[in-house]
């Protein structure tokens, strides 16, 4: 086989290998393109919650703790007309604030424990990238940014941690 033929033979071989590879790509593309099933992208809010998972065990040491304050406390208000036959003091609504971040909590006392629901806002937008630390609980937000926990005791200290913020709300009186 002379050099020219060899070259041609080689080129043909090369072409056929490339064609096989391309054929495989085409088959996969058609399989995916023709799939009747949809591909679902999660919302940015859900992804933010999943990205915050490492914060359940690790506090951002590089972020200096910043203290917050009570911005609103329903127990400071004049007693409202009884609602749903619930005696005064069984429900408490708190807004804790540190800079532009605020944590809203609704606490409801049942017969033998407390139910808590919380949500974190920054600039009036629901936040999903924070872990709420309450005693031994490290809570990730659920759908729509709600934190939910039950306890027989009330939290005197709360911490709200993201990759950027480490906010401490201490000395809450009950």
């Amino acid at each position: 086989m002379d050099a020219r033929k060899l070259k041609t033979h080689g080129a043909r071989n090369h072409r056929s290998t490339a064609s096989v590879k391309t054929h495989h790509s085409l088959r996969l593309l058609r399989e995916v393109g023709n799939s009747p099933q949809a591909w679902f992208e999660p919302s940015p809010a859900s992804a933010a919650r999943w990205k915050a998972i490492p914060l359940i065990e690790k506090v951002t040491e590089r972020t200096r703790p910043r203290s917050g304050r009570v911005a609103f406390d329903s127990w400071d208000m004049a007693p409202a007309v009884a609602l749903r036959n619930i005696a005064d003091g069984h429900i408490r609504r708190l807004e804790l604030k540190a800079g532009r971040v605020s944590l809203e909590i609704v606490a409801e006392r049942t017969q033998d424990h407390w139910e808590f629901v919380g949500r974190i806002y920054a600039n009036n937008e629901i936040q999903n990238s924070y872990v709420l630390k309450v005693g031994r609980f490290n809570l990730l937000p659920r759908t729509n940014g709600f934190y939910h926990w039950s306890s027989t005791s009330v939290p005197r200290n709360l911490r709200v941690v993201s990759y950027r913020n480490n906010l401490v709300f201490g000395g809450i009186q009950w």
């Binding site: 590879k21 399989e31 679902f40 659920r142």
Partner: protein
């Protein structure tokens, strides 16, 4: 297999939160799709996916081979989705107008999901021109005409054929890197 997964996982084990965020970015659609295809509602699928990511994070030390992560995510999400779906049905939480699909997906569909994920991953790694061309030709089901496509890409319609060949060759190379070669 995604070549950088081994490095990424090593960083996750070392406590690198940025690596974890990248991992979530790369695989969140896969996890969410498995949950949704198993018939969960959007909110249930979000909760299911959160549990899966939490389990992965908590059991990270026991996971020996990072290459197995995509398959682990698919199977774990599938199991959780089935459990969640059955629990919802037992509790009668589903509305009448919601589709009561069987949450159990056949094995071949789970394998196809992994392949589909890798093809989509390969597409992300193509240059923008090739990505646009390949997506328009094979995913948009003929919604874009050759003329529109050539205008969008910025070449003459006659140049689409040769560009398509070059793009498919690039895609074949990427697919091989991701472990989706024919052999």
């Amino acid at each position: 297999m995604i070549p950088e997964l081994r490095v990424l996982w090593k960083r996750v084990l070392a406590g690198d939160a940025a690596a974890w965020r990248k991992l979530v970015d790369s695989y969140s659609a896969l996890v969410f799709t498995v949950a949704r295809r198993a018939g969960l509602t959007e909110a249930d699928a979000q909760d299911c996916a959160q549990d899966v990511w939490l389990t992965l994070y908590r059991s990270k030390r026991s996971l020996k081979d990072p290459q197995a992560i995509p398959a682990w995510l698919i199977r774990t999400t599938h199991r959780r989705a089935i459990a969640l779906s059955l629990r919802s049905r037992r509790a009668g939480m589903r509305h009448d107008d919601e589709q009561l699909a069987d949450p159990k997906l056949p094995d071949h569909e789970l394998l196809q999901l992994e392949r589909e994920f890798l093809v989509r991953e390969a597409l992300k790694r193509l240059d923008p021109r090739c990505r646009l061309l390949v997506k328009s030709l094979y995913f948009d089901k003929g919604q874009t005409s050759y003329k529109q496509l050539s205008t969008a890409i910025g070449i003459s319609p006659n140049g689409l054929g040769p560009l398509r060949s070059r793009c498919l060759s690039k895609l074949a190379k990427i697919l091989k890197e991701l472990g989706l070669s024919e052999d």
